[in-house]
Symmetry: C2
Subunit: 247 residues, 2 copies
């Protein structure tokens, strides 16, 4: 058996998320189906760095699997790409040793979140951005986002349904920029781990701060509150991209 590490991109629009589910089209599902074909009927488990929800995209999701026999990494890349639907692409393939694990080996991850600021819903962006047609003060968002960096208890930013007890995470970098050509706010967050819906809840809160509906330093209060009801909004899945996974 040879262990392969693949970096993949996908348009999440038409997937019911990353994780395999019976009868539903998922990213893990199409990958495992391809490997089933390549091995002429062997069931191979694909491990991802983590799940992404329905509608969430990836520029650089990382997976691994063990393949019977050894074929060159570049041949593996081409073979799988030839079996992928057009909304998934393998960007890189490497042979790694058996100590590598796509999920347990993650050191940090970067997520991007894109928000279209146009007045109307843009027909070309509806699956690829969130949408915020209201006024905001970029300076307030820039000031506020600094409070996200560091180690905090993110209980206020975890969607119910998560089963993880420890909600302390470290965010190494949190940035925002305004792309005036695209008329989009582009957020990026790099951290050692993210709770369920955490990025989408943080973005919704940042937009409310920008709009003046929350205090600039409301994050400080929310860390103390440890109450999901306090953060409330969740930005839509369509704006979220898993950008990079670090090992």
């Amino acid at each position: 058996m040879t262990r392969y590490k693949l970096t993949i991109a996908y348009d999440g629009t038409k997937f019911h998320g990353f994780q395999r589910q019976p009868k539903l089209r998922t990213v893990q599902g199409v990958l495992e189906k391809a490997l089933f074909k390549m091995t002429k009927g062997k069931e191979i488990d694909v491990f991802g760095s983590g799940r992404t929800d329905a509608g969430v995209h990836a520029f650089g999701q990382v997976i691994h699997f063990d393949y019977p026999g050894e074929i060159p990494a570049n041949s593996m890349l081409k073979a799988i790409n030839s079996l992928m639907p057009l909304d998934v692409i393998v960007k890189d393939a490497q042979i790694v040793d058996n100590s590598f694990h796509a999920r347990f080996g993650v050191k940090k991850k970067t997520y991007q979140y894109r928000v279209d600021c146009g007045h109307y819903t843009d027909p070309f962006k509806r699956f690829y951005t969130g949408h915020y047609p209201y006024k905001f003060d970029l300076k307030r968002i820039e000031e506020s986002i600094k409070d996200l960096q560091g180690t905090h208890d993110f209980s206020s930013f975890a969607a119910s349904g998560g089963v993880i007890e420890n909600k302390v995470r470290t965010i190494y970098a949190a940035t925002v920029k305004f792309d005036s050509v695209q008329n989009e706010l582009i957020f990026e967050f790099t951290g050692n781990g993210f709770l369920y819906n955490m990025v989408r809840i943080m973005v919704a809160t940042l937009l409310e701060i920008g709009n003046g509906r929350r205090d600039v330093h409301d994050f400080i209060r929310l860390y103390e509150a440890k109450d999901r009801q306090e953060a409330r909004g969740t930005a839509p899945a369509s704006g979220l991209y898993l950008k990079e996974v670090f090992y």
Copy 2:
């Protein structure tokens, strides 16, 4: 009756083109259906500046129709937008006098064509660009595209199926630029009229010139040839955008 001129944008991916067709989802179809609702059952004809094919997009298609009674232009815009699916948006509405005709009044049109130059098919661009993963020399394309400007017989660039006899058209501007952030070639053509598939055939020819498979001044030869077989290729619909219509 009041005549309205609307500027609309649409993502053509899920439309069988602009023109109404029985049982198929078309842009004209969804507009006429909305007007049918607004008038509680009157059939109103929508006139577009011209058709776009299945998969072709628009940033600025122009239409007109006659509406029973007069409502303010901005109310018309809001009313129709409230009835549009998410892949169509009305960007502007104006009341015009009865001499205005969306099709017969066209003075010139601008089309944009986007070509993704990445090695692989990008999952996020498959519906929104053409794709050219081969080498090209931008200077050759820049030199060649100058030959398109002016008044020429475009018989070599008209897809069979067209019924128009006179294939002489004037192109006022033809430009190309390379967007290094998106890794895309962006072509723009402004002319007094375009034959069926003409832009897509011109782009395919320009790419072959860039690749060195045709002479830099092959357009001169093609004007003389007046033979569709000579130009051959047609770039895919997904990269084409009707950008602006001038009256």
